[in-house]
């Protein structure tokens, strides 16, 4: 399993290929990629703050939990911080399992936990001003299914 919390961009394609090549025996690979939405030109940038140390600890625990629960062959999380522009990839998750149901469940679990339990805070800089993104009740509620 690999976790990278980084300021720089990552290459979705290269990461996907490297991940798949390392798990030739797994039948199902699911990836999720989160991208900065431009909101029709209104958003200028997304600034992501994080808590170094706790970020790695929290995500590592999520990944270990997902691996055990769904018998994953492997998992990958890359999450950026700093200033990102619309269209840039914020983060990606990749999971590999024997069967598709486990791979989809593990990827959704990781996304739900990353949203609400990994110490990142997003700030949107738009043409009319800047503000911290509020956590969504729906994201907190999504954790209940796990």
């Amino acid at each position: 399993m690999r976790l990278s919390v980084q300021a720089g961009a990552f290459d979705l394609g290269a990461e996907s290929n490297a991940f798949a090549a390392a798990v030739p025996g797994a039948g199902a690979i699911v990836t999720f990629t989160g991208v900065v939405r431009g909101n029709g030109g209104a958003l200028r940038a997304m600034e992501i703050e994080h808590y170094p140390g706790m970020t790695e600890r929290a995500i590592g625990a999520m990944m270990a939990g997902a691996r055990a629960r769904w018998g994953l062959a492997d998992a990958l999380v890359i999450h950026r911080h700093g200033r990102l522009l619309p269209g840039e990839a914020i983060m990606m998750v990749a999971v590999a399992a024997a069967h598709r149901a486990d791979a989809f469940a593990a990827a959704e679990f990781l996304m739900d936990y990353l949203k609400s339990r990994a110490p990142f805070w997003k700030r949107e800089v738009s043409v009319t001003g800047a503000g911290w993104v509020a956590a969504q009740d729906a994201d907190e509620a999504a954790l209940a299914r796990w």
Binding site: G34, E49, Y51, G53, M54, R57, A58, H79, I90, M91, M111, L114, K115, S116, R117, A118, P119, F120, W121, K122, R123, W132, V133, A134, A135, E140
Partner: protein, 82 residues
């Protein structure tokens, strides 16, 4: 001495990302009360504890948790990762 860290708008309201404090506070809530009594900017940051989260030594915790043995306390709003 305990390290206290602030993130996102908590950091902005208090005006600094971290500080080392001498405190006799027994719980997180006691520490918050000490901070709020110090200056208005702390009172502003901690006005609504329901909109805040706390981590002790990098693990999410609660405001009634004891501080004994804790080296690092962090206050921040609900997380918005992913």
């Amino acid at each position: 001495m305990i390290d206290v860290l602030y993130f996102a708008w908590v950091r902005e309201r208090i005006g600094l990302p971290r500080e080392a404090l001498e405190t006799q506070a027994a719980t997180v809530a006691d520490l918050v009360a000490e901070l709020v009594a110090r200056e208005e900017r702390y009172a502003m940051a901690f006005a609504d504890l329901g909109s805040l989260r706390v981590a002790l030594d990098q693990e999410l915790s609660g405001f009634d948790a004891p501080l004994q043995g804790v080296r690092e306390v962090a206050f921040f709003p609900p997380m918005t990762g992913g």
